[in-house]
């Protein structure tokens, strides 16, 4: 007997050891349940993480934009009623009012990672006789590249954006037949025009984006788009992507500028993620329930089988509390050991999954990250479930009257 273990632990472990087959069966049952939960959770969070990563590799989580221009109906003095059809005016490119101040206020809101101003608008890229419509995006590379990792997506050249430099997509480069260090003439609708040097060619993994997106220095875009000193939007990234909508509302409240989060602009996608999370939670609950019932039924049988031993222990002075704890500990131990085995099982299935779920070129479909916190959580949950499942059998053991138990 271990000197450092109290009576309850010694009795609980011995009882489990004595009923080895029973114990092994229920531990296996718990392990299968925990394995499924670990595997499902890792798979879903991997899938979601991958979706979100792809999504946010080319867009910010919150975008601040100037309000739309609206026409105000005429008002007359007195009681006259004016019937008016309000036609929305066309939206010309406008800057966010006092955007530097808006940017500075936004930076002070907690939970925000980066704040990146952008001046963007439509333009044409002209090379020789060919011209292509493009989306001209003027950015501050120091901050913008931490939102969209252009340097990581370069296929040629480098991510330098001085005045007079431009980065273009591989599709546009191919359409216009240009390469790094070539000159490209950019013309906007207002007639402004400038010749820029291609410093890098990138691949965003999307044909449309590779054809249309071009990046220039903020100042270059401001000049070309006639937005002297102005920006058309401010991109914001946040630490917790699921808190984006709350933070967007905070920004609007603090700055008065309309802030749209990805949750609002991608409502369908967000509800898809939400329903995935809910079904994952439902699976967890049902698995926990079946684990709990399994443990409880085994312990109920154990209490019945051992009622005489419980009786004699009570007769020799064991308290009701001690008997209660002997069975609670058994429930907890079964849950804990089952979750230990189950987590390993989950790992093993994930490892096999990683080997099989691959693209044709051998790269994994998506990254599955086995987070230790997930395993710890599963183990904690299973142990607590085990203890909870043992409450009824343990109370039954504690309530046994020694006389009744011994006479049986």
């Amino acid at each position: 007997m271990n000197r450092f273990l109290p009576f309850e632990w010694i009795a609980a472990t011995r009882f489990l050891k004595e009923g080895a087959v029973q114990t092994l069966l229920i531990i296996t049952g718990v392990a299968v349940g925990v394995g499924v939960v670990v595997f499902m959770s890792a798979l879903l969070s991997g899938l979601q993480g991958d979706f979100l990563k792809r999504m946010f590799s080319s867009q910010a989580q919150i975008v601040l934009q100037p309000p739309d221009k609206i026409a105000r109906p005429l008002r007359t003095d007195g009681d006259a009623i004016v019937l008016a059809t309000v036609i929305k005016p066309s939206q010309r490119l406008r800057s966010i009012d006092q955007w530097q101040k808006v940017r500075d206020i936004t930076r002070t809101i907690p939970g925000i990672l980066t704040v990146s101003p952008m001046a963007s608008g439509a333009a044409f890229a002209v090379k020789g006789g060919a011209d292509k419509s493009i989306s001209l995006m003027g950015v501050d590379p120091a901050v913008y590249f931490s939102i969209v990792d252009i340097p990581g997506k370069l296929t040629a050249g480098m991510a330098r954006l001085n005045v007079g430099d431009i980065l273009i997509g591989i599709q546009l480069a191919s359409d216009l037949g240009v390469a790094v260090n070539d000159k490209l003439r950019i013309t906007t609708a207002s007639g402004a025009s400038q010749t820029l040097t291609i410093t890098g060619i990138f691949d965003l993994g999307n044909r449309g984006a590779n054809q249309r997106n071009t990046y220039v220095a903020l100042h270059t875009a401001q000049t070309l788009l006639g937005l002297t000193g102005g920006v058309t939007s401010i991109d914001v990234t946040v630490k917790d992507v699921y808190a984006a909508e709350d933070i967007a509302q905070l920004i609007t409240a603090a700055t008065g500028v309309e802030a749209d989060s990805w949750i609002k602009t991608n409502a369908d996608f967000f509800s898809f993620i939400n329903s995935q999370n809910m079904s994952n939670a439902a699976i967890r609950i049902f698995v926990s329930l079946s684990v709990a019932f399994g443990i409880a039924s085994v312990l109920v049988v154990s209490v019945v089988q051992r009622s005489k031993e419980i009786g004699i222990l009570r007769a020799m002075g064991a308290s009701r509390g001690q008997m209660l704890r002997v069975f609670l500990i058994q429930g907890g131990l079964v849950g804990f050991l089952g979750s230990l085995l189950g987590s390993s099982l989950g790992w093993a299935i994930l490892a096999v999954w990683r080997d099989y779920a691959r693209h044709a070129d051998g790269t994994p479909l998506f990254t599955i990250v086995m987070e230790p916190s997930l395993v710890l959580l599963a183990m904690l949950l299973a142990t607590v479930t085990g203890v909870a499942a043992a409450i009824l059998p343990a109370m039954r053991a504690a309530r046994l009257e020694p006389v009744v138990a011994i006479r049986g």
């Binding site: 007997m1 000197r3 109290p6 009576f7 010694i10 009882f15 007769a315 020799m316």
Partner: protein
């Protein structure tokens, strides 16, 4: 006469009191057991012997009357205090050994001490070893109790009953399941402990031959003590 270790005054026990099926099984029992006494309780089946033993063993409460363990009145004690007192003052030996099969012989003997203290210690193991030695089973100290013979198991049970040096050992048909030879061995063992340590024994038995080898024989019939006499054979000379 030595101080009584146990005193019963007007003990009554009614099952299902206040109902149509109320059954009175003990009708005002007065009894006391002196320190060092070795007493047999005999009587036909259903006479209330076991109920009496359960009440004395604090496993059941009387409906009426006073029960004193030593000088301590048990009427006012809570369930928890009764459990603690039971552990300290009373040792049990039953007809069936009721050893805990998940433990070895030595550990079974240690069990009352472990239950009382909470944590095991080397002193407990030494006490248990000494007791196992006294019942002649030290070589089987690490044996699983399931592998011992019936007589050996009952001797382990006797050793266990003595672990906390109780003032009273209550034995309910302790030899009822044993062959004559083993029964004699177990009886002699208890007699020897009684003589050597002065532990009081109260033994419920059907075996009149054994009863006659006690100091005193109390006969219970229909919930009443009908005779209380010195045993025919008298105490076996030391």
């Amino acid at each position: 006469m030595a101080e009584p270790v146990l005193t019963l005054e007007g003990i009554r026990k009614v099952y299902n009191p206040g109902t149509a099926v109320a059954t009175e099984v003990l009708h005002g029992i007065d009894f006391s057991l002196a320190a060092g006494e070795f007493c047999a309780i005999i009587g036909p089946s259903g006479s209330g012997k076991s109920t009496l033993l359960n009440i004395i063993g604090l496993l059941d409460r009387p409906t009426d009357g006073r029960l004193l363990i030593g000088a301590r009145d048990t009427a006012q004690l809570s369930d928890k205090m009764l459990t603690a007192l039971r552990g300290e003052a009373i040792g049990f030996v039953f007809q069936y050994h009721y050893l805990i099969t998940a433990f070895t012989a030595l550990e079974n003997v240690m069990m009352p001490l472990l239950v009382g203290r909470g944590f095991p210690n080397p002193e407990m193991a030494r006490t248990a070893e000494r007791l196992l030695d006294e019942v002649g089973l030290l070589p089987w100290r690490d044996a699983k109790v399931g592998n011992l013979s019936g007589g050996q198991q009952q001797r382990v049970a006797v050793a266990r009953a003595l672990a906390r040096r109780p003032s009273i050992v209550l034995a309910d048909e302790p030899t009822g399941n044993l062959d004559t030879k083993s029964a004699d061995a177990v009886f002699e063992l208890m007699r020897e402990v009684n003589r050597r340590d002065g532990t009081s024994f109260l033994i419920v038995t059907h075996n009149l031959r054994l009863a006659d080898r006690c100091d005193r024989v109390v006969e219970v019939v229909d919930g009443r003590i009908v005779s209380d006499r010195k045993a025919a054979a008298g105490p076996i000379p030391a």
